[in-house]
């Protein structure tokens, strides 16, 4: 399946051809390329194709119980229609209000930004027709999403599981990355006791997500949690924070940040620690301050790893389920429900088709975000490095 061509002129992003193809050597050496890649590819193919096709099919059916068993009649796109136009619309998209003037202004700013983004690619002819089409498509979908998001956030509106998930992802990743980077940098310095910090900072990641969710449930409990005296002093002991949609969402996000900052931390720490010492020593001889050294020398060097870890977290963060499920059970109402929890709830009520449809909507959203991220950010970062 994998045909190999000798020495392509690929840049630093593509493979850096190192070894001559074929020629002398044992059979093993001639097969080296395939042997490096094929085992991983074979495993992924074996375990992914079947589930992917089955769940796609399930999303086009509706489970029915008949005497002696069940049937899965084909219903076409009904499950998807239900989410976008039908009875699940409020659950999925939310309540969409008319935009207030302030939000109109915000939308105008975003729309202008997207327009500039498209026009700039017209000026740069090297991207070609495919690049232009990609940018137009991205701008259109992103514009639509922002338009709907703003309508859901406007007073009178209410975000559905789609936008709640987006908020979790955007806020979570932004905080986790900068926090993880700062901690990784500080812990990479020569400080007494840094081993203590490095191990301690990894702890949250080691607790199983279900356990973390239950721990935060007791921590955030206004009557039984450790902060109960504080809430009492503030006169909040009798009101449950669960009654405030944004309070409940904040609780979920705090739990998520606590849990996943270690992921960013360890990956960035390892990247900082593998920087060649010669580079930093040279910068120091040139008289760079520590601040300059970090931003001008270290950070650019770890940008490719940063970009990768953000991409991985981007994909993982969309699947958040345990925290909202245990902490708030998706409530109040559906205010903290993420897409995966939405799919899980549908699945629990035996709406298998609807559940698969939500999962596929999530997949479209993540694929769109990840593709956009890779082509507009990741590739550029990797090229620059």
């Amino acid at each position: 399946m994998l045909k190999v061509r000798a020495r392509s002129g690929a840049g630093p992003v593509g493979p850096v051809p190192l070894l001559r193809v074929g020629g002398a050597g044992t059979w093993m050496e001639r097969q080296a390329r395939s042997l490096f890649l094929m085992p991983a590819v074979a495993m992924l193919v074996a375990l992914s194709i079947f589930p992917l096709c089955v769940s796609l099919y399930l999303s086009l059916t509706r489970l029915q119980f008949v005497p002696g068993g069940f049937r899965l009649p084909f219903v076409g796109l009904a499950n998807y229609r239900k989410l976008i136009f039908g009875i699940e619309r409020v659950h999925f998209l939310g309540v969409l209000a008319a935009l207030s003037p302030l939000f109109w202004l915000l939308f105008a700013v975003v729309a202008t930004g997207l327009l500039v983004f498209v026009i700039r690619s017209l000026r740069a002819p090297e991207s070609g027709a495919r690049g232009l089409a990609g940018r137009v498509f991205f701008a259109a979908v992103a514009g639509l999403l922002v338009w709907l998001l703003l309508r859901a956030l406007t007073p009178g509106g209410r975000p559905g599981s789609l936008f709640v998930t987006l908020i979790y992802v955007i806020v979570g990743i932004a905080v986790q990355y900068w926090l993880g980077l700062a901690l990784a940098f500080l812990a990479s310095q020569d400080l007494a006791g840094r081993r203590f910090f490095r191990v301690v900072f990894l702890l949250p990641m080691m607790i199983t997500p279900v356990g973390i969710a239950y721990t935060f449930r007791i921590l955030f409990d206004l009557g039984k949690g450790p902060f109960a005296p504080l809430w009492q002093a503030l006169g909040l002991a009798e009101v449950s924070w669960v009654n405030f949609p944004w309070g409940a969402r904040a609780a979920v996000m705090i739990g998520d940040i606590w849990q996943w900052t270690p992921f960013m931390f360890i990956v960035l720490l390892a990247a900082l620690e593998s920087l060649p010492a010669e580079l930093l020593e040279a910068a120091q001889v040139d008289g760079a301050s520590r601040w300059q050294m970090f931003w001008k020398v270290m950070w650019p060097q770890i940008l490719p790893v940063s970009s990768t870890v953000i991409l991985i977290r981007l994909i993982e963060a969309f699947k958040i389920i345990d925290l909202p499920n245990v902490l708030t059970n998706g409530g109040p109402g559906t205010a903290t429900e993420s897409l995966t929890l939405h799919a899980f709830m549908a699945w629990r009520t035996l709406d298998i088709g609807g559940s698969a449809a939500v999962a596929y909507m999530l997949m479209f959203l993540v694929t769109f975000s990840a593709t956009a991220y890779i082509s507009f950010v990741h590739r550029r970062v990797a090229e620059a490095a």
């Binding site: 399946m1 045909k3 190999v4 061509r5 690929a10 593509g14 493979p15 051809p17 190192l18 070894l19 390329r33 490096f36 890649l37 085992p39 991983a40 590819v41 375990l47 194709i49 089955v54 399930l58 700062a182 500080l186 310095q189 020569d190 400080l191 191990v199 900072f201 702890l203 990641m205 080691m206 607790i207 199983t208 279900v210 007791i218 450790p226 902060f227 109960a228 606590w258 992921f263 990956v267 390892a270 620690e273 010492a277 930093l280 120091q284 520590r290 050294m293 490719p304 790893v305 870890v309 991985i312 993982e316 699947k319 897409l339 799919a343 699945w347 999962a359 999530l362 997949m363 694929t367």
Partner: protein, 350 residues
């Protein structure tokens, strides 16, 4: 070559203050930030620890903080988990250890190899060959669903693919590059587990592997592969290529270069990635819930099971969480020293 990897730091650089040591005021600020975050991290864990010694009344009647001062600690939860449940704690524990360690090591082995391949060799999978593979796999799936035993079905599909692949590659010649392969790999993590548990369950049922450690090992390894590939590709990229080129000129085979130069030079990344995938398989819940029932159950299931009809049993949960994190912490303490610079300083100059 061997002494090239010795941990020798260039002597001249010693006279300057090391670029890693902060100024005194910077050190104070660093300690303040690190200390703050350490408290944020440790407080919930302290709470879990305290809760594990509480009687239900201590939890449900509002907070008490310090054992012996606020309340009389009780070992009832520990006794329940270790004495009453003995084998029901030990078996999931052993399962978790076996499954997490095996799957992480395998994922690291296959994933690093694939990452290196993707970074250094150009691959050109043909569209025709991919379509043929999909078709063959689909035929095999249909055949198995229709009642054909799966061994002959898979073998027949593999033979079909191998015989026709050259022809298909020529017919539809559009090819993909390494970045496309990498993206395809990471895209395998996009679909949420909720959507794929049923098909995966059916698959392992057909293979008669339900409720075995093997099923979990295979699943976790595959699920973790994309992360290993992506992270290790970037860590490998940080290594300077001159070293590999000079080894290649000296006649070292690709495998040798990979095993004795590339892997040792990326120890920090390797350790970080290993810890990550270990933790992922150690803590995985949803797939374990579906693929196991009694024999191969893992600890996350035991924790979730403590949310019984009487409401969450915080004290038992806390004990189980503590049991679960102890081995991983030990592993992290043991491996943390390898996430360090200068292990191989001087390699380039050698």
């Amino acid at each position: 070559m061997a002494q090239a990897f010795a941990a020798t730091r260039p002597r001249a650089a010693r006279r300057l203050r090391s670029p890693y040591s902060p100024s005194p005021s910077g050190a104070v600020l660093s300690y303040a930030v690190l200390g703050f975050w350490a408290i944020v991290v440790l407080f919930p864990i302290f709470w879990i620890f305290v809760t594990s010694f509480k009687l239900p009344i201590h939890v449900l009647d509002g907070p008490v903080y310090l054992p012996f001062i606020d309340f009389q600690p009780s070992g009832h939860a520990w006794r329940y988990i270790f004495v009453d449940l003995r084998n029901d704690t030990l078996r999931p524990f052993i399962n978790t250890v076996v499954v997490a360690l095996t799957s992480s090591v395998l994922a690291l082995a296959l994933g690093t190899a694939a990452a290196y391949g993707l970074l250094r060799f150009p691959y050109r999978p043909r569209l025709g060959a991919i379509l043929l593979l999909l078709g063959a796999a689909g035929l095999a799936a249909v055949a198995v669903a229709a009642g054909v035993p799966w061994v002959p079905a898979v073998l027949a599909a593999a033979i079909l693919f191998l015989v026709l692949r050259r022809w298909a590659g020529q017919r539809i010649g559009r090819s993909f590059g390494n970045d496309d392969i990498a993206f395809w790999m990471i895209s395998q993590r996009i679909l949420p587990p909720v959507a794929v548990v049923i098909p995966i369950y059916v698959m392992f049922q057909r293979l008669h592997l339900l409720d075995t450690q093997l099923a979990l090992i295979i699943t976790y390894m595959t699920v973790n592969l994309p992360i290993v590939v992506w992270l290790m590709r970037d860590y490998f990229r940080q290594i300077s290529i001159e070293l590999e080129e000079s080894a290649a000129i000296d006649g070292a085979s690709p495998f040798r270069i990979f095993l004795s130069i590339v892997l040792p030079l990326s120890t920090p990344g390797l350790v970080a990635t290993f810890l990550l995938v270990l933790v992922f398989s150690w803590n995985e819940y949803l797939l374990a819930l579906f693929l196991t029932s009694a024999n191969a159950q893992t600890l996350p299931l035991s924790i979730a099971a403590q949310n019984a009809t009487r409401g969450p049993q915080w004290w038992y949960m806390s004990v189980l969480i503590l049991i679960m994190i102890t081995p991983v912490i030990a592993m992290a303490i043991a491996l943390e020293r390898y996430i360090a610079r200068g292990l191989l300083v001087g390699a380039i100059k050698g």
